[in-house]
């Protein structure tokens, strides 16, 4: 039987499709508790340590909410100010100390591969809450859950990934997971921010169905899900070039005229101006709901890892 009890979650690639499905179905059960409509004490007596070596309010708060909604306790830090790390302690030593205090650890650290190292050292399960430009698997899980819940299913859906497909780690992990679920993947990006060849090759090796579009206008007609990401200004040496590019990938009411009736729009947030605020009022907008789903998904994960 599929079980996640006692396991680490460092990269989305650590999970089989069955394990992902288990998390998604467990998430369904967590929704009323996450909304505060029901209460649970399933993790009473368990302690989660949130070790955030760099700030991330959203990931940290949703993990802390998730743990408390299930009756568990929390320790940790939101920045390294005032901790032993400021005195020069290594991550390895911090992990060895904290594993003595907590039952499970969520780690956010600026160095890529830090969560893999922590998982090798710790006897308690480690969840990667983002390791620099590396992995952020709980983001991928909540993205998958949002598609399943709001678009009905994942398999066979056309999910168009829009924006910075070169540097955006969320889209790389998401594309991998979508391929595992046999979704169709559409790609729309400025030419300089195309998905890297090695990632495309990797995706094709696991049988991904991928289509690259030349414009958002072309892709929007076929999309069931539009996953928007931020195009960062600092990727463009010339600010006028940035404005031009950002303008042509902006999601607004005009571009949505060609959209399917039941298109859903997602965004990992924070957004800057890639989605016009007028879109928020349409039935397509699911990004705030997506952000809420981060709580039940993390609840499901904590429960499955801690008690099975």
């Amino acid at each position: 039987m599929v079980s996640l009890k006692g396991k680490d979650l460092v990269s989305i690639r650590d999970l089989t499709k069955e394990e992902m499905e288990l998390i998604l179905s467990e998430t369904d059960k967590m929704i009323p508790i996450a909304r505060g409509e029901q209460s649970s004490k399933i993790l009473k007596g368990k302690i989660l340590a949130t070790l955030f070596f760099e700030p991330s309010t959203r990931t940290r708060m949703s993990f802390e909410t998730a743990m408390q909604r299930l009756g568990g306790g929390i320790i940790g830090f939101a920045s390294i100010e005032g901790t032993s790390i400021m005195k020069g302690e290594t991550l390895s030593d911090t992990i060895r100390v904290v594993e003595g205090y907590a039952d499970i650890i969520v780690l956010r650290h600026p160095a890529e591969g830090s969560a893999r190292l922590a998982a090798e050292i710790s006897s308690k399960p480690i969840i990667n809450g983002g390791d620099g430009a590396g992995q952020h698997p709980t983001q991928t899980l909540l993205d998958l859950y949002t598609i399943k819940r709001e678009a009905g299913e994942i398999e066979g859906k056309k999910v168009v990934l829009l924006g910075d497909l070169k540097y955006g780690r969320t889209v790389h992990s998401l594309a991998y997971a979508l391929a595992m679920f046999n979704a169709e993947i559409g790609l729309v990006s400025p030419p300089t921010l195309r998905m890297p060849e090695e990632i495309l090759k990797d995706l094709k090796e696991i049988g991904a169905k991928i289509k690259e579009y030349s414009s958002l206008k072309e892709a929007i007609k076929e999309a069931d899900v539009l996953y928007v990401t931020r195009i960062q200004k600092e990727r463009f040496p010339d600010p006028t070039e940035y404005l031009k590019v950002a303008g042509s990938y902006k999601v607004d009411l005009k571009i949505l005229k060609d959209a399917k009736e039941n298109l859903i729009i997602m965004h990992p947030l924070p957004r800057v101006d890639e989605i016009d605020p007028s879109v928020d009022e349409t039935k397509h907008a699911k990004y705030f709901l997506q952000s809420f789903y981060g709580v039940p998904v993390r609840m499901a994960l904590l429960k499955l890892i801690l008690v099975g």
């Binding site: 160095a111 890529e112 591969g113 590396g134």
Partner: protein
């Protein structure tokens, strides 16, 4: 027939001859094998000698040293065509081409400056070999992929 150039260094009685090393890489090969100034036996190195197979090549002769396969296979990371000759009493008793290992531990530094292995953490860099031809490795920690040229620049 022995090519005249090879006689720049005379045949050895006992030991290991590493032939067909990529030209100019002999010193790096010694580094990978951990042969330092403390090594007591005779080591002969010839670099950039003409080769029919490679155009140019390097050769290393290690007297009284018999390297095991696991050790010499590390050479494949920077010189995949290298051949190993084990010599006993002036005769080649074993000859083979190096083969890239499955895993590379502690020989190469990850080229990603933001990788945790490049911090002060007490860890040894570790890579999986994801392609043997051309040689490509992936960092166990940060997943960064490195090509032969990049590997060469990052030998520890």
């Amino acid at each position: 027939m022995i090519v005249l150039e090879e006689l720049r260094v005379k045949p050895i009685k006992e030991g290991t001859v590493i032939d067909h090393i990529k030209p100019g890489k002999a010193l790096k090969v010694l580094k990978i094998l951990g042969i330092t100034e403390e090594h007591g036996d005779i080591v002969s190195i010839v670099m950039n000698v003409p080769s029919q197979k490679l155009g140019k090549k390097d050769i290393i002769k290690l007297e009284n040293v018999f390297l095991d396969r696991e050790t010499v296979n590390k050479i494949a990371l920077i010189s995949p065509m290298a051949t190993i000759n084990i010599i006993k009493d002036y005769r080649v008793i074993e000859k083979y081409i190096v083969e890239p290992p499955e895993e590379v531990v502690g020989i190469v530094r990850c080229q990603n400056p933001r990788c945790i292995t490049n911090s002060k953490e007490p860890i040894t860099p570790k890579f999986r070999v994801i392609s043997k031809e051309p040689i490509t490795i992936r960092c166990h920690y940060c997943s960064r992929v490195m090509t032969e040229e990049e590997i060469e620049k990052n030998i520890i």
